[in-house]
Subunit: 241 residues, 2 copies
DNA sequence: AGTCGACCGACAGGAAAACGACAGGCCCGC
DNA sequence: GCGGGCCTGTCGTTTTCCTGTCGGTCGACT
């Protein structure tokens, strides 16, 4: 199933002074089968890093005591090479650049979408796993998504997707053949705090379908790849005959 | 049998200002072997959450004193990660509920069907039981229902069921080989307050049978999977020879 | 053979989903 | 700084298909 086979569960440390955010990330990670702990301050983070020995760290730059960079510095100085993904506020453009140059492995601006965060964490983990890491390619029926190249193909044909379409498709592919409710899709693919309870999901699915169909090998109408489960949600899977 | 093996009984706290509703839920839960207590206000709920230490909470959003989100906040702030399933009015605050399925909680609009509520509670419990949770698959004869993928198969063939058909079948499978009266099925699968004392159940069973038969491995007529117990109800089981 | 319950075809009302058209916003190039 | 194009989401209409009612027929039990 997962490409990044690990014998042990991934251990994630989430550092954010806003407990709801930290918990959100931890919860989602646990659903993926990871172990996750949270810290709400730099001090706590450093202590936990020593005890818990995480495989990866999510680190907010805005902390009450030591700031994110400080935490990173002290982590490095204590000799750990654990990869770090930063979280920064929307307009901290300066922070972004700094974040990358200061030894972080990736960053994401708040508010973020949880699936995107998880995807980045997986990527960073994969890369840091050592040389010759495997590419991550999702595959469902004749659909393939190369997460590294950010390339989606149906059979041989390559499709060009917008960012939102890409994210929705990735989520569907990753969970396939599970049926996902519109609420789940909205909650995972859109930024937390997104107000719209409208029909955005339907719309994106509709657009996705068109692109997928255009690239279908049998120009006629094979069964649609994205199925509607009326009154419930959507699933990506071979249709039942 | 059950996938969510627990040594101790599940402890459920039901919070709803409408006592009949709260009792309905509590009763059904107790019937499933859970321990259940009810609260009719936010204050009472918070007190009980401390004393009773529930494993899961059903929480109406419309409460006389604190509102549902307030209760959730205070629960979380007191450090408990207990999962919550919300109840909301049909067109009331349905939009403010966004963000729940991401944190692992869930919601249901009133009026709901008790089996659906129980199913969601079981799902949320299973997921919060820790990393690497098991999928829930019901199995009766050559019928399998994967509750996570929402996929039903007869042998190899996958059937596509409407929401109502799916719910009735799930109830039958879960209780198999017990004989269920039409009234029981109506009471559990349809929303409480449903007026129809009509023959809906017969009708859905009839439709279900057809779909089940079409997917039967022996194209001829093996005994039907859903048996009629004349004058009483239905049961899902291998026919006695 | 009669009676009563069950089965199921046909239909209609309505709810959910699909999707066309449009508008605001963002980014990019000039 | 300005214009243009693309992406995204809102609105409203159309389409799909799910659900329950009615009633005729069938089958079982007496």
């Amino acid at each position: 199933m997962a490409q990044y086979e690990r014998v042990e569960k991934v251990r994630l440390l989430v550092v954010d002074d806003d407990p709801p955010i930290a918990d959100l990330v931890a919860t989602v990670a646990r659903y993926e089968g990871w172990e996750a702990v949270t810290a709400n301050s730099g001090e706590q983070a450093l202590r936990l890093a020593g005890d818990f020995r995480p495989d990866i760290v999510v680190l907010d730059l805005m902390l009450p005591d030591v700031d994110g960079f400080g935490v990173l510095d002290r982590l490095r100085r204590s000799g750990t090479m654990v990869p770090v993904v930063f979280l920064t506020a929307r307009d901290g453009v300066a922070d972004r650049v700094a974040g990358l140059t200061r030894g972080g492995d990736d960053y994401l601006v708040k508010p973020f979408a949880v699936e995107e965060l998880m995807a980045r964490l997986r990527t960073v983990l994969r890369r840091s796993a050592g040389p010759g890491f495997q590419r991550s390619v999702l595959r469902v029926a004749d659909l393939t998504m190369d997460e590294d190249a950010r390339e989606v193909r149906r059979g041989e044909r390559r499709l060009s997707l917008t960012p939102t379409e890409y994210e929705v498709l990735r989520y569907l592919m990753r969970k396939s053949p599970t049926v996902l409710t519109k609420a789940q899709i909205l909650d995972h693919v859109w930024e937390y705090g997104f107000g719209g309870r409208s029909n955005v999901v339907e719309l994106v699915v509709s657009r996705l379908r068109r692109k997928l169909d255009e690239a279908a090998p049998d120009a006629g109408d094979g069964e649609p790849l994205i199925q509607t489960v009326r009154g419930f949600g959507y699933a990506l899977r071979q249709a039942p005959r």
